[in-house]
Symmetry: C2
Subunit: 342 residues, 2 copies
């Protein structure tokens, strides 16, 4: 109800001008410590709060950054947001969240919206089927830092923070080989996305680097769902020469596979080893904890935020960065023959 107090109110109260008040509030060097003190006092007395909107309009900096991602209520994405928020909030930035639901049109819409809102930067993971990159170029053309995380697209001027999916997959597969598994299957999701393509490539290369070799029949594409994992596992076990290990690019699919394998009486990890990807919380809660590749999503968020801060500081050097984080294989019982205590 009470009219918001502005610098004019406090100027009037002190019989000085708004400019002086502004200077006092901003620690401007050329101001007498007397008036400064006076201003600060009455500012507090009048319960003055700076209107960030006015400042934003004036300065052209909104102190907001947009975070755009497919969907927020997934462990990976919400952790990334947490990382971003915790890095940016202390620096005076607010974080605006937008979901694309993996829809390209919606993605373009929210980006346009963020641009209209004058965000100082955009941190995002692209929608699943985005082909057109026009809306990304819009961002860069307006000189707004654009940082991709996890799912990126290669655009000149954009930065990215990703996981070394290739290495994660390679290590997971190598681990399975080390456990004595020679017939290792792979669940892939959507290889038109770099992350899944890289996971596949890492898997394949690990096999090629061993004396096992890559076998097309052990490769299955599916959705990241439990049921899909069950069905795919069924297909695998009905092969003439079924596999004895699985590296799944999806934790949920890995879980589904495990459920099926148990149903048909297999012992894990004795008869069959399984490694998933993402290190979803449930993987460690299971009676049979599932090995998985951790993506350190919070660190990814923090790192993306740091890249943004660098870019915003040095608008002289347009240093687009490509940061690749190291994966971390969490070995648990589902693939641990050598260490039964896990």
């Amino acid at each position: 109800m009470s009219k918001k107090t502005t610098i004019y109110d406090i100027a009037k109260a002190l019989n000085i001008t708004a400019a002086t008040v502004s200077r006092a509030l901003n620690d401007n060097p050329r101001i007498s410590s007397d008036t400064k003190k006076l201003v600060l006092e009455t500012a507090k007395k009048l319960n003055y709060k700076q209107n960030r909107l006015a400042l934003a309009l004036k300065s052209g900096k909104s102190k907001n950054v947009g975070v755009v991602l497919p969907i927020i209520n997934r462990n990976f994405f919400s952790n990334v947001i947490r990382g971003v928020e915790e890095e940016l909030n202390p620096m005076g930035y607010n974080v605006i969240i937008c979901q694309t639901h993996d829809d390209e049109k919606k993605e373009a819409d929210v980006i346009q919206n963020l641009l209209n809102a004058q965000v100082d930067g955009i941190i995002m993971s692209i929608a699943r089927h985005t082909k057109n990159t026009g809306h990304f170029e819009q961002v860069l053309k307006k000189n707004v830092p654009l940082i991709f995380f996890d799912r990126k697209v290669d655009i000149k001027g954009a930065s990215s923070v990703t996981l070394d999916d290739y290495r994660g997959a390679y290590e997971a597969t190598q681990h399975l080989i080390d456990q004595g598994c020679a017939k290792i299957a792979h669940f892939t999701v959507d290889r038109s996305l770099e992350i899944y393509k890289n996971r596949f490539e890492g898997y394949k290369q690990a096999l090629l680097d061993s004396d096992i070799g890559f076998n097309e029949k052990y490769l299955l594409g599916l959705e990241s769902k439990i049921e899909a994992g069950k069905e795919a596992a069924k297909k695998l076990m009905e092969l003439a020469d079924p596999p004895n290990a699985l590296f799944s690019a999806s934790d949920l699919a890995a879980l589904g596979a495990i459920q099926y394998l148990k149903e048909i009486g297999l012992c894990i990890p004795e008869d069959f080893c399984v490694v998933g990807f993402s290190n979803e919380p449930f993987t460690q809660f299971m009676e049979l904890p599932i090995s998985s590749v951790d993506q350190s999503p919070m660190l990814m968020g923090r790192t993306a935020a740091k890249v943004f801060l660098e870019q915003i500081d040095s608008d002289t050097v347009k240093t687009k960065k490509r940061i690749v984080l190291a994966p971390s294989l969490k070995i648990r019982k589902s693939s641990s023959r050598s260490n039964p205590t896990l």
Copy 2:
């Protein structure tokens, strides 16, 4: 790089005034359809985008709402945000996320910050130990709608959307009684928070309404963690007359209890029934799926957002609302003696 185009640019291009352009852009009735068409065309040609900041400063409405919560990377909270975002985004609002880490000072800080940013409303769940309500009253004094969800505090002028925790707990306990359990324990977390207090009360009342009665020795306070659940279960089973069922206000603690009970050789649900609270994703993924009370967090978020929209529309009637959502007991194997197929 390219200077942002304003209504002045398009005014200049057409040899008219900015006011006219503004009117054309806003479908003002008193404008010739000719100029309107012309304006729209050149607007598109010059790639004009409205600067929401300027509009915000002028109108006093930022079209942003703040969502304040303890921590974002938890299933419950990220789902609430999703609900809020999906309800508000189509109405032209952006959602700003702030975490309090359950710290009262931080909570006061982010709220002040949001107020400075001129948010049009605040949707929040209070920090765990917040006692002082000064920062909430600040919000209301500025006439900014304040809607609590889940964890609320009773303040005149603030709305709230909560779950009927009492009923959820009552139904869970009743369900355990129906399964033939007569000695039902309860894990509570922090009864200084309404939600946990209500869960306890619902549990207690269900017992009192049956011929079982409430027994203090079956009540244990703990943290919402697996280890805590294990330890508490151990304590319970070391009682002279150990219980044969558990209603836990925390899913994680319920999981811990189950792990311990299995360790000592008990069969679930034959020997011991367990129901948790929150319906965390992992509860349904387990080999032994855990019964739990669902809080419909997405609906909670959507509802809170709707309340905000109502409040913003009718600034005439200050109708504070108190909405209580119905819980939904998910019965799974951990408590299902009657239906072994679960």
